[in-house]
Amino acid sequence: MTLLLQCRDVSKSFNGLSAAAGISLSVGAGEIVGIIGANGAGKTTLLNMISGYIRPTSGSILFNGEDVTGIEPRVLTQRGIARSFQVPQLFLNATVRENMMLALSLLVQPRSKLLRDFGDQGLVEDVDRMLQHYDIQRHAHTVVRSVPQGVRKLLDIGMAICGQPSLVLLDEPTSGVSSDEKHELMRRLMGRLRADATTTIFIEHDMEVVREYASRVVALYDGQVLADGQPGDVFSKEEVLRLIVGKTENAPQC
């Protein structure tokens, strides 16, 4: 298995407060890695560093064998790292369809077509197919400001991964989605990612979801890797049960 992503002893501290303390992690092509951990364990910080949003204080990140530490999200996006957000980052004043059209004009269509008419037919058709795939086409003409959270979540992920990236980072794909919609969302999403054999790293609080979809689980605690391996092995570790699973099950899901 070829290594797609390597994090080597990556640390980040914010004004002396340590958010990640020497995380080492290698992800091979095609893996689907679930990251678990309590709030403040460093999950989002790790994703932020991999996607280039923040620069690690120390350590390095390699993507496809190249050092990409500290490269901006814009460049990494073009190189094939896609990322979705815990709080969907969308264009609130545009419609669902327009949001997807913007994503496609940047990630799928060539840059040379940026001066083409925004509403051109080919683009609209591609977008409608994607909205259909995520089953949100009935919201196509609604302004994002007024669509439900579940739709926003799907749209956010759909926009991030529309360009067939080689690495997908999902920050809590099911947060804010009702529990009965959660499994449907993951089934649809993971079906697509698996079909394309896209390497995926996702942060998730719902252990049931992690168990079902992750091929490998990484447990973070206090900025460090507590356990890393097959879901069965990780979930049977005593520290994981005590420090992460126990806590997240009692704590309100957010």
């Binding site: 083409r116 008419d117 509403g119």
Partner: protein
Amino acid sequence: MVVTVAAGLMVSAPLFPGWVRYVVQIALAIGLVSLGVMILLRAGLLSFGQGLYYMVGGYSVGFLSRHAGITDAFAATATGIVASAAFAALLGLFIVRYRSIFFAMLTLAVAMIVYGVALKVSLFGGTDGLNVRPTTWLGYAPRGSQLQLTQFQFTVLLTAVLILAARKLLNSRFGKLIEAIHDNELRLEYLGLSVRRSLLAIYVVAGALGGAGGALAAMAARHVDPSFTYWTTSGEFVFVAILGGTGSVFAPFFASFLLEIIRSFAAAWLPDYWQLLLGVMMLALVLLLPRGLWSLARVVQRTFGRTSAPVLLREDART
């Protein structure tokens, strides 16, 4: 529509009295600069210093006429546009790092510094400014009313071309991305777009439009002075852009015509109060039509227009 109106104006030009043509020329020049302000507004940036490019455009014409003896309209406007675009590119490199009030204040500050310098440096002619020699067109050198008529036609033609280009830009994917910058910069970066470079690009476009307006105004008035970059001039462009709204490329022209008409009549009838009139207008607009006068056009369209398919674009500029 642009082509019809432009052609109509150019053909019927001899029917209008000279002062009407002059008012239209100035309104178009101000409209062009304000169109630049409007494009920046779409990205959420308020430039309070577009007077700077108005001045660069104006002085390009002035300097060419005075120091190089070049009076050709094509050469002069091209120089004005290129010079202001170059200025905008240089200044934009650092100015597009800022947003909201910081952007507005920086643009204002730079324009005022240039004003201060221009007043002191004799090259710019001090408060008196420079006179501009009669314009020529590729060797054609009309005089008297024929000169003004040709100038009018040239102004209408150039403005029409620039309006069409601006509309093409705003209706493009890039044009839609500009609006998205206002909404969510983080998402755009994660879609692989350099927000800073995009803003620089439209800042240059706005600067070029400002330069075109300045060049046309200087040729029409046959005069240019440092007040082109004074803050009240810049404020007028902002006034026009907000009065018209960001709904369409025509909106700033609609507003600048209204402003020039009011200015012409109010100066005669209410010489001491006409600014009061502008204030009242602005107040009424902000309270009653916060999206600008152009939103009236939408209301009219919705009321009298035929029922059409769902509107694809929110603020679609195609009319």
